[in-house]
């Protein structure tokens, strides 16, 4: 691999097999399904059901964009991330990276693709091996993919990466416990960048951090995106953080996508009742705005993903539910009668704009 001699940043010209232009889909997820079997019996295991953690998720990730994936705990956000990273086997559907189906790859080809999709984990305290130095942690990808960096070059690369994420390159021989939470997350990000990936899947990357530190890390992620042209799948439950960083947002509910659109479409013109309820729960710092807005309080709990409701999954808690919602599954599409920013994909039979005052 040709090396650029001026190593100020590690924005090396990366080896692009199939070039993807800015704004073209780089990752296409089609009907992704993950069912975890529920088994009974010890010796002879019998499948008695399945937890439908992810049940038909479809979206595109464009080159250079940030797609936010939001939803409450247990809606399948993290499972989507794990499926994209091949940490779980895909039950059905496909994940196309530049046209190659990840589920069908194995061995060497899978390893090569994996290099281009990296992950930043939620917990910066447990996701770094306490017995490894920073040099070993960030350099570990080079041990696994030795073709990326020759041995003599690794130390310099690790130091470049540390500099890139705003850490002191002199700290290369420190151990994780000698860093703060935010610094550790930077180490995690540096490590994700080590192999020059094109896609970073960030699973709740800031939810374990202090609010002040969250902003620093989010800004770092934005800076890196501008410098390196990365695509992010940003998974979080904090709607404000997601709005800050995302170009487009997908809202998940019980293993499905309820609504997807640009951040202005989702935040200012939500059409799915679930999104509206979710947004109405975002804390508003302005006391005046707080008084004027409507809080949508949902009743009941999220149904069990092992036995989801028929038709629309949200109908058991929806104030708009009709008979059709139990009979017909609403497709993720643009409904008639919606215009302007309201016209975006929404999985609701009765999608209509509702102004959530002062949300986010």
């Amino acid at each position: 691999m040709a090396e650029s001699p001026n190593g100020a940043t590690s924005a090396d010209p990366r080896k692009i097999v199939k070039p993807v232009a800015q704004g073209e889909p780089i990752l296409q997820v089609r009907g992704l399904v993950k069912h975890f079997p529920i088994t009974q019996g010890i010796l002879f295991q019998k499948k008695i059901g399945a937890v439908k953690a992810v049940d038909g998720v479809t979206f595109d990730l464009m080159k250079g964009e940030t797609l936010g994936l939001v939803g409450e705990s247990g809606c399948g956000k993290s499972t989507v991330a794990r499926l994209l990273m091949n940490l779980e086997s895909i039950t059905a559907g496909s994940v196309l990276y530049k046209g190659d189906d990840l589920a069908k790859l194995s061995g060497r080809a899978l390893k090569a693709v994996r290099r281009n999709i990296q992950m930043v984990f939620q917990d910066p305290y447990t996701s770094l091996n306490p017995r490894m130095t920073v040099a070993d942690i960030i350099g570990e990808p080079y041990d696994i993919h030795p073709e990326v960096a020759p041995r003599g070059d690794r130390k310099r690369r690790v130091q470049e990466l540390l500099e890139l994420v705003g850490l002191n390159p002199e700290h290369i021989n420190r151990y994780p416990h000698q860093f703060s939470g935010g610094q550790r997350q930077r180490i995690g990000i540096a490590r994700g960048l080590a192999l020059n990936p094109e896609i970073i899947i960030a699973d709740e990357p800031v939810s374990a951090l202090d609010v002040s530190v969250q902003a620093q890390v989010v800004n770092l992620l934005e800076k890196l995106q501008n410098e390196l042209g990365l695509s992010y799948l940003f998974i979080a439950h904090d709607l404000s953080v997601v709005r800050h960083i995302s170009d487009r947002v997908a809202v998940m509910y019980l293993g499905r996508i309820a609504e997807i659109g640009t951040d202005a479409q989702i935040y200012d013109h939500p059409t799915h009742p679930y999104t509206q309820a979710l947004l109405s729960a975002v804390p508003v710092p302005d006391p005046d705005g707080r008084e004027h807005r409507e809080r949508i309080i949902l009743t009941g709990d999220v149904p069990s993903p092992a036995n989801p409701p028929s038709g629309c999954r949200f109908r058991t808690r929806c104030w708009k539910a009709q008979d059709i919602c139990a009979e017909q599954e609403p497709l993720l599409e643009i409904r008639k009668g919606l215009s302007g920013l309201g016209a975006h994909d929404s999985a609701c039979h009765f999608a209509e704009e509702k102004d959530i005052v002062g949300a986010a």
């Binding site: 940490l87 994996r114 990296q118 996701s127 041990d143």
Partner: protein, 306 residues
């Protein structure tokens, strides 16, 4: 380091790494020092180690030869023979001093074998999900339910009564407990997020074992080693007492065997019986106390249950 404080400069990576390692050992040592039982155990062990190593300086090895024995038979303790004499007229004190060598040597060597087998089997069965892990685990369990003594006696008979064979016998019967401990720790390490992180990078099982699991189970291996030595010393004494040891070597076990076999017990010659017995107990206790202290440091959660 004993050199004068160096001016602040950038030290090399290896130097820094060693410095951090020294600091880690220093922290462990500080915690160990605070543990009274551990320190007592360590002091006792040091005394016995010195006795074993410097035995030729402390006593005359010439006196070990039955043909050269000059003292009265089974004489009680006297000025000349502080711990009396055995049935061959040899000084019990001399025997006791030289007898420390075999149990300690066998105990340590057998423990090395047990640790290597136990660590490898434990990590392998902990890391692999499929049938290989299950088979290894069942194999370990199978080994653990076989009573130690019959197995050791059969093996000792098959391999013959040399020092090396005793080491091998104790080594290959002592590993299952270690394997289970290491397997459990491997399970706990395996579920930590940094393992997942390595898997995301495409790391294979060898990389996971050597880079992540092994360094994280190593402290437990060390702590377990000390406890296993205690068991091995006891095992050596047992085998020697039963007459399966090296007949030419003097050990506390063979002393007990001789005392039993020649009727020292019925003659009331307590000096032939008690000293080796007490030594075995003290050494085993010392290893256990030191090992327990080390385990408490390495795995503080264990202490809460006690």
């Amino acid at each position: 380091m004993t050199t004068a404080p160096a001016p602040p400069r950038r030290s090399s990576a290896t130097a820094l790494r060693w410095k951090l390692r020294r600091e880690a050992w220093g922290r462990t040592w500080a915690k160990f020092r605070a543990n009274r039982a551990g320190m007592v155990g360590l002091a006792v062990l040091l005394v016995f180690a010195v006795i074993a190593v410097f035995a030729p300086l402390l006593a005359d090895s010439h006196e070990l030869r039955v043909s050269a024995a000059s003292g009265p038979i089974l004489a009680p303790p006297s000025r000349k023979y502080p711990l009396g004499t055995d049935d061959n007229g040899r000084s019990v004190l001399t025997l006791l001093i030289f007898g420390a060598r075999v149990p300690l040597l066998v105990g340590l060597m057998a423990t090395v074998i047990s640790m290597v087998i136990g660590t490898i089997v434990g990590m392998a069965s902990g890391i692999s999900d499929g049938w290989a892990g299950t088979v290894l685990f069942r194999f370990t369990e199978w080994f653990i339910v076989i009573p130690f003594l019959p197995l050791a006696l059969v093996l000792a008979t098959l391999l013959g009564g040399s020092l090396l064979s005793i080491i091998v016998v104790i080594g290959i019967t002592g590993w299952p407990a270690t394997a289970l401990v290491i397997r459990a720790q491997t399970f706990s390490v395996r579920e930590r997020p940094f393992m997942e992180r390595a898997r995301v990078l495409g790391a294979g099982p060898w990389h996971l074992m050597s880079k992540h699991v092994f360094p994280n189970v190593l402290p437990l291996v060390f702590a377990n080693t000390t406890l296993t030595v205690a068991g091995s010393v006891l095992a050596e004494t047992t085998l020697s007492f039963l007459g399966f040891g090296d007949p030419t070597a003097v050990s506390w076990g063979t002393m007990l065997n001789a005392a039993f076999g020649t009727g020292a017990v019925s003659l009331g010659a307590w000096w032939a019986l008690l000293p080796p017995g007490i030594c075995v107990i003290v050494v085993v206790l010392a290893f256990t106390m030191a090992g327990q202290a080390l385990e408490d440091i390495v795995n503080p959660r264990l202490k809460e249950g006690r």
